[in-house]
């Protein structure tokens, strides 16, 4: 990270504001960069040379370069001025995947904006351009983000365009209209190795036996993170653009109870990974399941909403920086 923190005026600390907000002159700060300081020194040297050798043109071009730097300062501020920013809902991801916090920048003016970036204590951002009258998503990529809720929190938006001699920035904290802060939820990383699902409780032994023998193949669906590689239909996937997972029927009768104690691992995160893997596997196999964590119980269910509920419970287990 080049600029870990962008300063703001201490008597005007940024506070939680609801999006969208428009960057006006009162929000923008500007200071020369290190390169700008070096450039100033260079100009000073040139001026001394011009005086010493009495070169009028050296004066003129030194002043011209200085003028260019000053005008560039206005342009740098202009590059951010008037942008409308709103935080966007970010898709939850699994730990280890790239977690991106999105911010929509709307450029209502007739001026293209160049090289605008975000700064955040725990993320990096690719600078991007915003076309005239258009919108661009500025993505803040979290580095080594761990399981749990990551609030966007206080972040900076900056630009050094056009010359890199000045950096203009603003420090903001955004919420949506319900005053809910923005952030991204990161699910635990699914365990890499696929242990079979624990035995279903309440199902008869035949059903359990038939499960291990293999059920009737019912069809294919698109691969989801967490599907076991064994169920990937490699041949079908080769013909298609996506990875495909085989689906099996005959699992309806079983009631799968996934619980904290069933995971073979002892360490908390490893257990959560294991449970995540199972939850995904169960969902992939269209098995109804319930999830029991210490202090949290989710009843039997099936489907996307149920899956999300379980994954969120796993992500927030032990309350890491929880929102909600």
């Amino acid at each position: 990270m080049k600029f870990p923190a962008l300063p703001y005026l201490p008597w005007r600390p940024p506070h939680l504001e609801s999006s969208p907000i428009q960057l006006n002159a009162r929000r923008l700060y500007i200071l020369p960069t290190r390169a700008g300081m070096v450039f100033a020194l260079l100009l000073l040297g040139l001026l001394v040379g011009a005086i010493n050798y009495g070169l009028s043109l050296a004066y003129l071009f030194t002043f011209w370069f200085a003028g260019v730097a000053v005008v560039a300062m206005l342009h740098t501020q202009r590059n951010l001025f008037g942008l409308r920013l709103s935080a966007k809902a970010s898709q939850p991801v699994f730990a280890g995947e790239s977690a991106r916090l999105l911010l929509e920048a709307d450029n209502p003016s007739a001026l293209k904006r160049f090289r605008i970036g975000l700064t955040h204590p725990s993320g990096v951002c690719e600078e991007s351009d915003i076309p005239v009258g258009g919108k661009t998503d500025l993505a803040l990529q979290l580095i080594n983000a761990e399981r749990g809720w990551h609030a966007l929190g206080r972040f900076g938006i900056y630009s050094c365009y056009p010359l890199g001699l000045f950096r203009c920035w603003s420090v903001l904290e955004l919420s949506d209209s319900n005053a809910t802060p923005f952030g991204v939820l990161i699910y635990p990383k699914p365990a890499a190795d696929a242990l079979p699902l624990p035995a279903s409780v309440g199902a008869d032994s035949n059903a359990a036996a038939s499960k291990t023998d293999g059920d009737d193949f019912t069809g294919l669906r698109v691969y989801q993170a967490g599907d076991t590689p064994r169920r990937i239909a490699w041949k079908a996937a080769a013909r298609s653009q996506h990875l495909l997972t085989k689906q099996f029927s005959g699992q309806q009768g079983a009631t799968l109870q996934l619980s904290w104690s069933q995971a073979p691992e002892k360490e908390t995160e490893a257990r959560l990974s294991r449970l995540t893997r199972w939850v995904l596997d169960a969902h992939a196999a269209s098995l109804p399941f319930s999830l029991t964590l210490p202090g949290r119980e989710i009843g039997k269910g099936i489907g996307e909403a149920h899956l999300r509920l379980c994954l969120e419970a796993l992500a927030r287990f032990g309350n890491p920086d929880a929102k909600n």
Binding site: M1, K2, A35, V38, F39, L42, G45, L46, V48, G49, A50, I51, N52, Y53, G54, L55, S56, L57, A58, Y59, L60, F61, T62, F63, W64, F65, A66, G67, V68, V70, V71, A72, L74, H75, R78, F81, G82, S98, P108, S109, A110, L111, F114, R115, G117, V124, C125, E126, E127, V132, G133, Q141, I143, C160, Y161, P162, L163, G164, L165
Partner: protein, 673 residues
């Protein structure tokens, strides 16, 4: 040889560096030793190759290169600092640095070096053309800085996010947009630059010693050896320009007095030791003139005068000057800057008419051994006539009557150079005639000395000033006559009167005339060249010559307060602040211009069409209500009115669809109430 694809993303940053730097360095190449320019080019090519092949150069190699550069510059200049060695080394190292450009900071640093070298070039030349060229070079540098910011966004993002599998490919900086931005920055900065140029208090340099610069080519020197040089170099370079505020004298009276040569050793005229500094003893006898000379820096110490200065000579800023009794005006230090001075003088005067001191007399009569024939001739004249003036006339008549020729390519002369010239070759230019004449006079017992300077000049009628060029350099003689004092005698005029009356070219035999030399009447290019010189003169006077004095003078004309330090500071602050305010005010409404919705624009046009027929939409009237009312007023148009309103409302408040917009456009265009 592998093909080089210049469009690869790897090469773009490098090309954005090499090309602007090459633009800046191209004029330097004319003044730098060839090996530096060549190695720079080689470095540039190598860097392209190695980037193409993703090859890096070892640290030892780079160190070796730097050391080689330092050693080479040391050998060439004897120093690695200062305006020559320093610039040469910087150029060399900027080339070597191309081989290891890795980061944005490296590139920006190199562009800063480019800015430095651009300004440093003005040590060599400050001509109008070069200034124009450098504007473009500066534009290229600024554009490269803009491109660098855009490139940096790509590379830093790629470096910082190793986890992201494929950094989205960033477009390379667009050439036109980047150049356009650079142009805009330069144009917007120009008012600020001009303001600083005018108002920034000028200090009189130098702050530290000016190093000796390369000697300039001048037509004059402090020694004169007729017969040693077979050919006189003629140069159109300008020595100085003169503006007369009184009616100018005739060209044949324009003898611009420079160094006076007192001593002769048989071959060479020079002033071997300084003339004692006594005040000038002169009497003015008429024809007052006033003129201002703008002297080009000639890196010598003398200044030029016409006539006998009336009062004290002007004191020049930061220069110590002395006026010798021989009317030789010298500065203490070499003249390295263009200089302007104003003189009030009398064209007719007598110098030391009341007699010579014994020392001066002896010195101006001294003759070394040799040249027996010349001595014999002079003694013969001295015996025939007692009157000094008559002897002078006899000598001039000798030059006129005998077969002497004016030539710029005379044969070399032997040991007794004066005898050789007077009795054998009889061909030569002003130096030969002046030298021979003074030797003859001294041999005849008349005190005489050689005076060098410039003769004549060329009037530029456009600007009403005279241009004196290096090829107008001239040498003549001065003899001391009782009661008249030192009297100018120009033996060259006796041989080639045209030289004095119509300039050098007219005096030359047909075979020797120089096509490149300007001839006032015969050259159809003359008006153009005069105009060009006029522009150059203005440039010199007002841009290059804008020094402390000029600044004070100029600002005092605007407002006396402005010409003081405080005035300049206030002026700068006020005008600079105003400029910035204007710039930001002009910039911000530009930003606030919100893109209008195309549907609204079309609807406005529809309303305007109705308005022309007296149906005006009220300020608070909704579109639907307005449609109702309009349809009642114009039942014949009810159908299109409702259709357009529906389309508009749909576009505004429902979903914007492209085909609906096209429909609306078509209907509004077809709507003719």
């Amino acid at each position: 040889m592998p093909r080089i694809d210049l469009n690869t993303p790897l090469l773009a940053p490098l090309l954005w560096l090499i090309l602007p730097l090459a633009l800046v360095l191209a004029p330097h190449a004319l003044d730098l030793p060839i090996w530096i320019s060549l190695s720079w080019l080689v470095f540039a090519m190598l860097s392209v190759f190695s980037t193409q092949r993703k090859k890096t150069w070892s640290g030892g190699m780079k160190m070796l290169l730097s050391l080689a550069g330092v050693a080479g510059v040391l050998l060439q200049y004897g120093t690695v600092i200062g305006p020559q060695g320093g610039v040469a080394l910087l150029v060399f190292l900027s080339g070597a640095k191309l081989l290891e450009i890795q980061t944005t900071r490296d590139r920006l640093g190199l562009l800063f070096v480019g800015c430095f070298l651009l300004v440093a070039y003005f040590l060599n030349s400050q001509s109008l053309l070069m200034a124009g060229y450098m504007v473009f070079a500066a534009g290229a540098l600024v554009a490269a800085m803009i491109a660098n910011v855009q490139i940096s966004a790509q590379t830093s993002a790629q470096k910082n996010t190793p986890s992201s599998p494929q950094p989205s490919p960033q477009p390379a900086p667009e050439l036109r947009a980047t150049l356009g931005m650079a142009g805009r920055l330069l144009v917007q900065a120009l008012p600020l630059a001009l303001l600083l140029f005018l108002l920034f208090p000028r200090l009189q340099g130098p702050l530290w010693g000016l190093p000796q610069q390369g000697t300039a080519q001048t037509g004059l020197s402090d020694r004169m050896s007729p017969g040693d040089f077979g050919q006189l170099t003629l140069s159109d370079e300008i020595a100085f320009r003169v503006e007369f505020s009184t009616p100018p004298p005739s060209p044949s009276a324009l003898y611009w007095r420079g160094p006076v040569l007192w001593d002769f050793d048989g071959r060479t005229w020079q002033t071997r030791f300084a003339v004692p500094t006594t005040p000038v003893r002169g009497e003015a006898s008429g024809q007052p003139i006033a003129y201002a000379i703008t002297l080009e820096p000639h890196r010598m110490r003398w200044l030029f005068l016409l006539g006998l200065p009336r009062e004290r000579l002007p004191s020049l800023p930061n220069m110590e000057t002395t006026l010798g009794p021989d009317l030789q005006w010298m500065s203490k230090n070499p003249i390295n800057q263009r200089l302007r001075y104003q003189i009030n003088a009398d064209l007719d005067y007598r110098l030391e008419p009341d007699g010579l001191s014994a020392a001066t007399r002896n010195r101006t009569l001294a003759l070394p051994e040799g040249n027996p024939q010349a001595r014999a001739l002079a003694e013969q004249w001295a015996n025939q006539r007692s009157d000094a003036q008559a002897i002078v006339n006899q000598a001039l008549a000798h030059f006129r009557k005998e077969a002497f020729f004016y030539s710029l390519k005379p044969p070399l002369l032997g040991e007794n150079s004066v005898d050789d010239f007077l009795f054998v070759s009889r061909r030569g230019f002003c130096e030969h005639y002046a030298s021979a004449f003074v030797v003859l006079m001294r041999a005849a017992g008349i005190p005489a000395r050689v005076v060098t300077g410039y003769q004549g000049g060329e009037l530029n009628p456009l600007g009403d000033y005279w241009i004196v060029r290096q090829r107008d350099a001239h040498a003549w003689a001065e003899v001391w006559l009782p009661n008249l004092g030192w009297t100018r005698v120009d033996p060259t005029a006796a041989v080639a009167p045209n030289r004095v009356e119509r300039g050098l070219n007219a005096a030359l035999p047909a075979g020797e005339r120089q096509a490149g030399l300007m001839n006032l009447n015969a050259n159809w290019l003359m008006p153009l060249r005069q105009r060009w010189d006029l522009i150059n003169n203005q440039w010199n006077q007002w841009v290059l010559g804008y020094n402390q004095d000029r600044q004070r003078e100029f600002l005092a004309r605007l407002n006396p307060f402005l010409s003081t330090w405080q005035g300049m500071a206030w002026g700068l602050a006020a005008a600079g602040g105003a400029l910035l305010l204007i710039a930001s005010l002009w910039a911000i409404p530009h930003l606030a211009r919100v893109k209008r919705d195309p549907a609204s624009l079309l609807y406005t046009r529809f309303c305007l069409k109705l308005q022309r027929h007296g149906i005006v939409r009220g300020d608070a009237e909704g579109a639907a209500d307005f449609a109702q009312r309009a349809a009642q007023l114009r039942p014949d148009m009810a159908k299109p009115i409702h259709l357009i309103t529906q389309l508009y409302l749909g576009l505004r408040y429902d979903r914007a669809e492209a085909d609906k917009l096209a429909q609306l456009k078509q209907r509004v265009n077809a709507f003719k109430p």
